[in-house]
């Protein structure tokens, strides 16, 4: 029974099973499933000098950018998407890939009122030049403040209505709804770096409950823009290894010095098992567990014992009805910040006990950087592919492990092994934590 607290995380017996029938991504390592997966297994880095803007004097001058990408090759409703921001552009390409992989482009009997979307997408990029120019043009040197009347005059003249509205965090969602004619439940959540893991988890719950047949779930985000880098540089959260940027993302390594900004999108098609079976959809894996928690500690720091991370992992395992020993692979949050990696390691030890030393853990952020709100979505896809191919992507740049990070992080080389059940962690700034458990379809 769901009402007693002891087994409160178990889904109700009547709940629908939820399966993954399509995946797609747009990442710094490429824009299709197989290319990116091959490069992840090869341990390639998608990091390079930042080209999006002139970062040449910033504390951090590099990032993992999406290259040579044009969303227009993916969409069927181009007029509805003209002038979209990067988050939406990434979301459209990733979702179109997933939609086609799931065979939904050739399925005519879909009930669009039972088709929903749950994204974890970030804020759009500011219209930087016009924003900065408006601010400076209205700066009153003596009063040390912006003259609001002058600001209004300049900004109204310089700024563009469409460019502004496209920064709203629900815009990737809104454009996917137009592209795929969605009338069912639609959400965007923004729990910082945990957002798209949470989106997949909540989409799973919507399907379990029977409030939709099919959900598009995932996330899209870039913070590779001047104020994004500024914000993270001021927090001293980013690596500043400008002289060797290709190897700057070093999760679990003793010489890690912060995360590397990535960008992109990951999208999954989730559906109820019976809906997938009815239309003979390809079933890639099953989402069997989801946990969500808050540190409730400090906005600036993770709880030193990883209290929230422990709670999210335990909830997800309990929700899946699995024991720690059932997990074959952990896709770590593994950002490469000093604080995250040691505390995540501690949390894994708390949850997994002795078995923590035997379960392989890796962070693909070592290769594609940190996609912030979208990070969890590409990591969930990685779990699906690990199950499909029985291969684990490595944590690259891990030559000198931190004594506080003494688990098996699949250093530098991909690994072939039995992979039936994966656990994926995402922890957000401010203490919102989410964990998924993804299993081979039995």
């Amino acid at each position: 029974m769901s009402s007693s607290p002891q087994d409160s995380s178990r889904p109700q017996k009547s709940a629908h099973r939820v399966v993954i029938t399509g995946i797609g991504w747009v990442t710094p390592l490429g824009h299709d499933i197989e290319t990116v997966w091959r490069r992840l297994l090869a341990g390639e880095s998608g990091i390079g000098p930042t080209r999006r803007f002139d970062a040449s004097t910033f504390p951090t001058q590099f990032s993992a950018e999406v290259k040579d990408y044009d969303y227009r090759q993916y969409v069927t409703q181009p007029e509805a998407h003209e002038g979209v921001g990067l988050n939406t552009a990434f979301a459209l390409g990733a979702a179109a890939q997933a939609w086609r992989a799931a065979g939904l482009d050739k399925y005519d009997d879909l009930d669009h009122e039972r088709l929903g979307i749950y994204l974890g997408s970030g804020e759009g990029s500011l219209d930087f030049d016009n924003y900065v120019a408006s601010n400076l043009a209205s700066w009153n040197e003596e009063a040390r403040c912006v003259d609001a009347v002058r600001w209004a005059a300049v900004a109204q003249q310089r700024m563009n209505a469409l460019r502004e509205i496209e920064q709203e965090p629900n815009m990737p969602l809104t454009h996917l709804a137009m592209e795929f004619d969605v009338f069912g439940p639609t959400y965007n959540c923004l729990t910082a770096c945990a957002a798209s893991t949470q989106a997949i988890g909540e989409a799973t719950e919507i399907l379990r409950r029977g409030d939709a047949d099919v959900m598009i779930a995932g996330g899209a985000h870039t913070m590779i823009h001047p104020f994004g880098v500024t914000g993270f540089n001021r927090l001293t959260a980013l690596s500043t290894r400008n002289d060797s940027c290709f190897t700057a993302s070093r999760p679990f390594s003793v010489d890690r010095d912060g995360f590397v900004l990535g960008e992109g999108a990951g999208m999954l098609i989730l559906e109820t098992l019976e809906h997938a079976q009815r239309r003979n959809a390809p079933i890639l894996a099953e989402v069997v567990g989801y946990g969500s928690s808050a540190d409730a500690y400090r906005i600036t720091d993770i709880h030193p014992e990883g209290r929230g991370a422990v709670a999210a992992m335990r909830q997800a395992l309990e929700n899946a009805g699995l024991n720690p020993q059932d997990i074959d692979y952990i896709s770590a949050h593994g950002t490469g910040t000093h604080e995250n990696d040691s505390i995540e390691t501690l949390a894994v030890k708390t949850v997994f006990g002795e078995y923590a030393r035997r379960v392989p853990i890796s962070s693909i952020k070592s290769m594609m950087g940190h996609l912030i709100a979208a990070a969890g979505s590409v990591e969930a896809i990685t779990c699906v592919l690990a199950i499909r191919d029985q291969k684990l992507p490595p944590t690259i740049n891990l030559n000198t492990p931190d004594p506080a990070c003494d688990l098996d992080y699949v250093p530098n080389q991909a690994r072939e092994c039995r992979v039936d059940v994966c656990l994926s962690n995402s922890f957000g700034f401010g203490g919102q934590n989410d964990t998924l458990v993804i299993r081979r379809m039995s």
């Binding site: 007693s4 009122e113 609001a148 928690s293």
Partner: protein, 466 residues
């Protein structure tokens, strides 16, 4: 039977079994231009007193619209524990509003938390309390940012990104980014009240608070928490956010001299909405755990259950020609959400005693809502009173639905329909004309919100005897 239902090839016939936990609303924390907390808010709603007036937050004389629904005299320090006052320095106005709303909600619910009473044992174990709080895109404070930008100017006064990278950015406080992340509303609330359960931040424009309340409902129903803070808050009363709003073309620029008459929901003479700030956060609890808390409470601090959240529905509007920035004139998407909420609540349209509508006071969106309501209610619509809070507080964005749920709950508790103002000639078929507050039998209330971008949330509240 349950097993057979799973195999049913038509999931829309799938009925949730009776084991779903019931959820009640036990604390109300509205924050808006008409006041802080439920008492002044309800009083204004009954009196039909608008809080819309000239903008004082910044000099708005450069904009075509110069009035708003402003929250006045807000001092967030009065609403946080002493040891948390320092943290208020990193709170954007949106965060302050959420923190204040959550404090009101917790106290209204007589809930013991680390925030309301750190010396007593909390009403719920921290890991059984969640928080789902809707938020908007938070605009950076112009003075703070430009003070730093001014240090990175080239000789000709223009911005020099090299100087910015070298040293200009150092004029920003290290925690600058954290002031403006939308999830910080929920994060501060979870830290203050020690909510370690499931937590989320939903960012779907005006549908955010309604969707967040719906998500808390689901989390409690499925047993992942026993109590949740939920709702939303937003402030667009700074030049950048305000400009973004005006650029949507949805606001009244012709009533600057008469704020209280500016917003006319469902009126044929509606001239657009007005930007408001605030919203509402409520406390939801599982009925069974609330009953335990109720039984254990001493007589003078008995908590109350205002209403049951009996149904919830979410949906999406599609209007491709207008990029989902304008409504579907036929109201199909909104109707999908309302029908889902009614279905879960197991009520027929004829059972609804009051509708707290979204009702922006913009002819195009009001007309689309009217079409959606007609789709669901048919002929019976003209008999149901329709009230919008926008005439009183403006459009509170991500917080709007939270405020509306507070009023819906209080309307049930008081058995009273709030006043309707500014609607001399309602759209045909809609019972939304100006009327004073009046007593009525109110068992069931529908409230919904429809955000720009097309997300919709609908909730059905039912009277409950605990």
């Amino acid at each position: 039977m349950v097993k057979a239902a799973i195999k049913q090839p038509m999931p829309q016939l799938f009925k949730m079994p009776a084991m779903t936990r019931r959820v009640v609303i036990t604390g109300l924390g509205p924050v808006s231009a008409v006041g802080l907390g439920i008492e002044p808010t309800w009083e204004a709603a009954v009196a039909g007193r608008s809080g819309i007036g000239p903008i004082t937050a910044f000099d708005a004389s450069g904009f075509d619209c110069r009035i708003a629904g402003e929250v006045r005299d807000l001092s967030v320090k009065d609403f946080v524990p002493k040891n948390y006052r320092k943290a208020t320095k990193v709170m954007a106005r949106d965060i302050e509003l959420a923190v204040v709303a959550a404090d009101f909600a917790a106290r209204d619910a007589a809930l013991v938390t680390r925030g309301t009473n750190p010396d007593e044992a909390p009403s719920y174990a921290p890991h059984r309390v969640g928080a789902h709080i809707g938020a908007g895109l938070i605009a950076g404070e112009l003075n703070e940012l430009t003070t730093a930008l001014a240090e990175a100017r080239a000789e000709d006064g223009s911005f020099d990104i090299h100087r910015w990278g070298e040293s200009g950015m150092e004029h920003l406080t290290p925690l600058w980014l954290l002031k403006y992340l939308p999830n910080m509303l929920a994060c501060h609330v979870t830290i203050i009240h020690d909510c370690q359960g499931p937590s989320n931040t939903i960012t779907c424009a005006e549908a955010s608070a309604g969707l967040s309340i719906g998500e808390s409902l689901r989390v409690i129903q499925r047993g992942a928490a026993d109590a949740c803070f939920c709702g939303g808050a937003e402030s667009k009363l700074n030049p950048m956010a305000f400009l973004r709003q005006l650029m949507t073309g949805r606001y009244n620029t012709t009533s600057n001299d008469d704020g209280s008459r500016a917003v006319r929901p469902f009126c044929q003479n509606a001239a657009g909405s007005i930007v408001g700030e605030g919203g509402g956060i409520v406390v939801l609890e599982a009925l069974e755990t609330f009953r335990q808390r109720y039984a254990a409470a001493s007589g003078d601090v008995k908590p109350r259950a205002y209403a049951e959240i009996a149904g919830f529905g979410a949906s999406q509007t599609v209007n491709r020609e207008a990029r989902n920035l304008r409504p579907d004139p036929e109201g199909r998407g909104i109707a999908v959400a309302i029908r889902a909420a009614l279905r879960e609540a197991n009520v027929a349209p004829g059972d609804i005693d009051l509708i707290i509508a979204f009702g922006l006071g913009l002819r195009e969106t009001d007309a689309a809502e009217a079409e959606a309501l007609k789709r669901v209610f048919g002929e019976t619509l003209s008999g149901v009173p329709v009230v919008s809070t926008k005439a009183l507080v403006g459009n509170c964005g991500a917080g709007a639905g939270g405020l509306d749920v507070c009023l819906a709950a209080r309307a049930i508790a008081e058995q009273m329909i709030p006043a309707t103002i500014n609607c001399e000639s309602p759209l045909p078929g809609i019972n939304a004309g100006s009327a004073p507050a009046r007593s009525a039998k109110i068992n069931t209330v529908l409230t919904y919100s429809a955000g720009i971008g097309g997300q919709n949330a609908a909730l059905v509240l039912k009277k409950i005897e605990v």
